[in-house]
Amino acid sequence: MELEEMKSLWNDMSQKVDQQKVLTDKLIIDLTQERYENKLRHISIPETIAALICFAVVIYLISNFGLLDVWYLQLSGAITIISCLILPILSLKSIQQMKAINISKNTYKESLTKYAKGETRFMLLQKISFYVSFLVLILSVIAFSKIMKGIDVFTVTEKLNWLVPSGIGVLYIFTQWVLKKYKKATTSANNILKELEL
């Protein structure tokens, strides 16, 4: 297929597409309304549930903080509380950044730049969130074990013997996966930025 042939084929296709009036008034209205409802659903449910879980954890830990009687248990509890307050805020902020493109005002070039920069920031945040979440998971297990079962995991050496190596193993596997994903997404975003500069 030659380039001129490509253009002529495009024209033929355009004519056919233009002739076929398939959108009805009702369908257009349905498309806009259904989308609006979907958007409300998407924004509210996952983020609200995640934030509620985090805040429930914070309230539970604060109200039982007195049961954490050793400094390292208190430190685990405090870090878990702070992280559970910060992570939902970071999550909401990243969602706001994803919506930064002004569809009606931006040009194609501006949208691409914002997309590529937003993607890089978002992936960095994802990477940080992953490590923080993993740390919070470990720290919350320590704090919850003490509060709910009265167990200080640092004194249960036989459990630590297999818990620590398996924890490191899981962390290693997930880290490799996250890094691979991060590298791929940022390379693609950086390529767009480079191309825009040409």
Partner: protein, 161 residues
């Protein structure tokens, strides 16, 4: 203030633009339908910002392309959709099989281009001149010329393969 009736009329007159943009930025029918719906929604949302300073089609290209870009990073968590599967397929119903194959090949070549280049080649194939492409995309007219020359060269190499 535009009315719903005017919006419907404008969409109906330019529905081909939405179809073509969705086709070059989607990899399957599901994604295409999702993008199609998103573009119609964004056009509706931005409709009152259209002051009539440019052609309605120019404004639609801008919204459609921006929506396609902003849709690239969205997670694929979809809710229910209005069923438009048949709608998109119907666009080609009356076209013969050979033409469908050639069009599929044409889109395949376009999709091999980068995200940046796809929008520019689309506007070029749509018969827009350098100035119009520059207005819609935000690149300078000279830059559009350079980019198109590069794209043509790239397509030539691809097609020869």
């Amino acid at each position: 203030m535009h009315t719903k009736k005017e919006f419907i009329q404008d969409i109906k007159e330019n529905e081909g633009i939405i179809y073509k943009v969705t086709r070059i930025y989607s990899n399957n029918t599901e994604d295409q339908n999702d993008l199609y719906q998103e573009i119609v929604y964004q056009l509706w949302k931005s409709y009152n910002s259209f002051k009539g300073n440019s052609k309605i089609s120019t404004w639609m290209y801008r919204i459609a392309l921006n929506t396609a870009i902003s849709n690239l990073k969205k997670e694929k968590r979809r809710g229910s959709q209005v069923s438009i599967d048949n709608l998109l397929l119907n666009q080609m119903n009356e076209v013969d099989t050979v033409m469908v194959e050639r069009i599929t090949l044409l889109y395949a070549h376009i999709k091999e281009l980068s995200i940046v280049e796809r929008g520019i080649i689309l506007l070029h194939l749509e018969g827009k001149n350098y100035d119009e492409i520059a207005t819609i995309t935000g690149f300078t007219t000279t830059n559009i010329g350079t980019r198109l020359a590069r794209i043509k060269q790239k397509l030539k190499t691809q097609i020869k393969k």
